[in-house]
């Protein structure tokens, strides 16, 4: 008997059909990967199974938990079921925990809600759970607060809470999307071992096929609210890949073919050091952290360079220092032959025309009260004299069409666009001043795979058209692999390895690079299906 099954389940909110005729079942001890783009209905499926669908939603069909029909959404009966029979692991470990409670207390709470046992016994069980998810009470005390833990450790706490009452069904909604690749691999193997050990049915939701191929037993593809395909994982990836799967994997991106003969440097950074002060006052003798510690790098005109490293390695500080938003302690930055150090304000304006930036979060990149036309006009302040209105409109139209948006989009507000479209607007904003270098700080990390590939293709097209150079800053190795010619690997403020991207992926020399590449999930496919080179 399936632990969790959807029987002809449909859900609509107002006029919109969110889910249509979902049939899906998860057996005990099985991991079913539910994969689809953002907006395809993955998360609503998960929330429906937890009885957490929006109140306005109207549903048809049944969701069975261990063979029994689940109560109606929003009823008190759910309180007995949630946490005891079915539990959820959320995407964002930063916000899934209460910042004001110790992790021990939060696990204990989950236990005591469903069990009438003394506090001592609950404490002991909480400690056991922490040990089980790999947080030894010797090293990580249950008295710690969430902010004292890393992202991966927090996700382990979230998992401990989810399994606290030994539920028969677990739902994990993008549980590793917010994590680094190395941490992701650890969390995936933890989930697999828990499923095997406790015979849990796990519904694993993600947009990342590579992750699915590594962890799931069954794959279900959801597209526009419908399950369009279900198959055992091995078959799914082995058979010539159905149309649906291909639609998700999308076409692979060709690596840039042309060789860069240009000797002109778009960017030259020599021995940059950036420090963050740790001392609170002048008697405090703590020495500053060297966030960027003697980094040198150069990018030729029209070249794409990747900078990879885990969060906190100093990537973003480096990017901000290059554009002059972060003071440098030592070193020199030259952009298009213009020296950034000690530049006068007028010269800085000129340099900023040459280098622009695209940020990670498409939701906080734009002032929510500004129209796209205002957003795209802002960089024009760098021209010294602000262009006349006609010329502004022309520049905005060119930039919008270059990134594949309509010129009528100029009158819209940012919230009217999807994540992928917003990143296009961000690229359009970067293109306004016709820069020679664009720094992309995790610019595609927040996008699902289809939008990500569209944005990357757009960037490559723009490179051919305008000869602009890119610095891709990311923790996502596939981006680096697909679109860059050279790669730098950064760890703790230092560049630990550099070279041609193909060489680095083929023969990583530094241990850290090796661990990064080993941890990155790749789609496991039988040998007869070969990736395009």
């Amino acid at each position: 008997m399936a632990a969790l099954s959807f029987k002809a389940f449909s859900l609509r909110i107002g006029e919109d059909e969110i889910l249509r005729d979902i049939n899906l079942s998860v057996e005990p001890g099985e991991i079913v990967g539910l994969v689809g783009r953002s907006g395809s209905g993955k998360s609503v499926t998960a929330l429906s199974a937890m009885g957490l669908a929006p109140n306005r939603a109207r549903s048809n069909g049944d969701i069975l938990l261990n063979g029994e029909a689940t109560p109606a959404t929003g009823t008190r009966d759910w309180r007995q079921i949630r946490g005891r029979d079915i539990a959820m692991i959320f995407q964002e470990p930063m916000t899934a925990l209460n910042p004001l409670q110790t992790i021990g207390a939060q696990i204990r709470e989950a236990i005591l809600i469903h069990n009438d046992i003394p506090a001592d016994a609950a404490n002991a069980r909480a400690n056991n759970l922490l040990t089980r998810v790999g947080l030894d009470s010797e090293s990580i005390s249950p008295q710690r607060y969430p902010h004292e833990l890393s992202g991966g450790q927090r996700q382990r706490v979230v998992i401990a809470i989810a399994i606290a009452n030994e539920p028969s069904v677990l739902i994990a909604d993008e549980p590793t999307t917010a994590l680094d690749v190395t941490t992701q691999a650890e969390i995936l193997s933890l989930l697999r071992s828990l499923v095997d050990e406790k015979n849990i049915a796990l519904l694993f939701i993600t947009h990342d096929l590579a992750v699915i191929s590594q962890i799931a037993d069954q794959v279900a593809v959801i597209f526009e609210g419908r399950i369009v395909e279900t198959a055992p994982t091995s078959e799914f990836f082995a058979s010539g890949l159905s149309h649906n799967a291909n639609r998700l994997i999308a076409e692979r991106l060709e690596a840039p073919a042309q060789e860069y003969t240009s000797q002109e440097l778009a960017l030259n950074v020599v021995n940059m050091v950036c420090t963050h002060a740790n001392n609170r006052h002048f008697l405090d003798s703590r020495s500053p952290t060297r966030a960027v510690d003697g980094v040198s790098l150069s990018i030729a005109e029209g070249e794409s360079v990747g900078l990879v490293g885990e969060s906190g390695c100093g990537k973003s500080t480096l990017a901000r220092a290059i554009v002059g938003l972060q003071p440098m302690a030592e070193g020199a930055v030259t952009i298009d032959g213009l020296v950034l150090n000690d530049a006068k304000p007028a010269a800085i304006r000129q340099i900023r025309q040459r280098v622009q930036m695209v940020f990670q979060d498409p939701y906080s990149s734009f002032d929510p009260r500004w129209r796209v036309s205002d957003i795209l006009s802002e960089p024009m302040y760098l021209f010294g004299a602000r262009p006349a209105k006609d010329e502004r409109i022309k520049l905005i139209e060119t930039a919008l069409t270059d990134v594949g948006l309509a010129s009528s989009d100029a009158e819209k507000y940012p919230h009217e666009f999807s994540g992928g479209q917003r990143q296009r607007i961000a690229i359009a904003r970067a293109l306004i001043t016709d820069p020679s270098l664009i720094i992309l700080d995790e610019a595609t990390s927040a996008l699902d795979i289809t939008s990500r590939n569209h944005v990357l293709k757009l960037l490559m097209r723009l490179q051919q058209k305008r000869g602009v150079s890119y610095l891709f800053i990311t923790h996502d190795l596939t981006v680096i692999k697909d679109v860059t010619r050279r790669t730098l690997v950064m760890k703790a403020g230092k560049i630990v390895e550099r070279g041609k991207t193909s060489d680095i992926f083929a023969k990583p020399s530094h241990d850290y690079t090796k661990s990064l590449i080993a941890a990155a999930p790749t789609i496991k496919r039988p040998a007869n299906v070969i990736d395009a080179p």
Binding site: S38, G39, K42, S43, V44, L47, L52, P54, N55, R56, F90, Q91, E92, D173, E174, T177, H207, R320, V323, L325, P345, I348, R349, R352, Q356, M357, F359, Q360, D361, S364, S365, F366, D367, P368, R369, I375, E378, P379, M380, Y381, L382, H415, R429, D448
Partner: protein, 282 residues
């Protein structure tokens, strides 16, 4: 990926509060405006025949020990209260908001200085400053305005600074800095419009507190002076007569109570309506 919005069950009870607040506030503001050119009776001079007239068709809210109509006095009192409170809030906002923006934009010593100066103001009750001003310049409506206004400066500075600080971490501020906009320009173009909803809400709540403060100051004789009526002084003058003419206390007290409650309900309702996060939920 998890952009599923979960809308809280919409209940009409919240709207009732907001509508009640708007309605009552509108009545008080209308009464204040009308009092500029018409009141049921004039409120100067003595009308011995009507002394302590109890509420009737002729005097809806009764008359006081000088035979003056209480309704007319409350209407004029509303004008005085609103005038004093609005001017004080204006002072508090025009000085406090720029200070808060400034503190958030520059940080460090500037921030510390502005905020500690604000703490200093918070350390003294408004009434002390009012007494000080009254001791030097004599009590008047203008002095009440200054005393209340000064105490609103740090309130607005704090609210502005807190909200601005969280916005300064957004990427669009970085983008503006990339476009070489300076801190003042960014504060005006990006920060201020995005915190305006908070300022409107805070302004409404502070307005109700200022009404209360004005009543308090005039109660102890530090506000507007006789013969101009004011709610606080009406209470002060009639408290010895409460046993035989309770309407002299009840109606001004009710006016203060209703207006303050109404303004708070408006502030609460605006908070829900103007919060940009709520828009995402719809």
């Amino acid at each position: 990926m998890t952009n599923v919005s979960i809308t809280p069950a919409k209940s009409t009870t919240k709207n009732v509060g907001f509508r009640f607040g708007v309605g009552v506030s509108a009545i008080f503001i209308a009464a204040a405006l009308i009092s500029n050119f018409w009141t049921p009776y004039t409120v100067d001079g003595f009308k011995i025949a009507e002394r302590f007239a109890s509420p009737s068709f002729a005097h809806w809210f009764g008359a006081n020990h000088l035979g003056r109509d209480v309704l007319s006095m409350i209407m004029i009192g509303a004008r005085i209260s609103i005038g004093v409170a609005a001017t004080a809030i204006f002072i508090g906002m025009t000085i406090g908001v720029p200070l808060g923006l400034f503190a958030a934009a520059y940080g460090g010593i500037v921030d510390g200085f502005i905020m500690r100066a604000g703490d200093l103001v918070f350390a003294f009750p408004a009434i002390l400053l009012a007494i000080l001003i009254a001791a030097v310049y004599g009590p008047s409506a203008m002095n009440a305005v200054i005393a209340i206004g000064v105490f609103n400066i740090p309130v607005f500075a704090r609210v502005t600074r807190g909200a601005a600080l969280s916005l300064w971490k957004r990427d669009y501020i970085l983008a503006a800095r990339m476009a070489d906009r300076n801190r003042v320009q960014i504060s005006i173009e990006h920060i201020l419009p995005n915190i305006s909803h908070l300022l409107i809400v805070q302004g409404t709540v502070q307005f109700s507190l200022a009404i209360l403060a004005e009543a308090g100051l005039s109660y102890v004789g530090l506000g507007v002076q006789s013969p101009t009526p004011s709610w606080g002084r009406m209470l002060a003058e009639s408290q010895t007569m409460i046993s035989f003419a309770p309407w002299l206390v009840i109606f001004p007290g009710l006016a203060i109570f209703l207006f303050v409650i109404a303004l708070n309900l408006v502030g609460d309702g605006l908070n829900k309506r103007l919060d940009p996060r709520e828009k995402w939920l719809v």
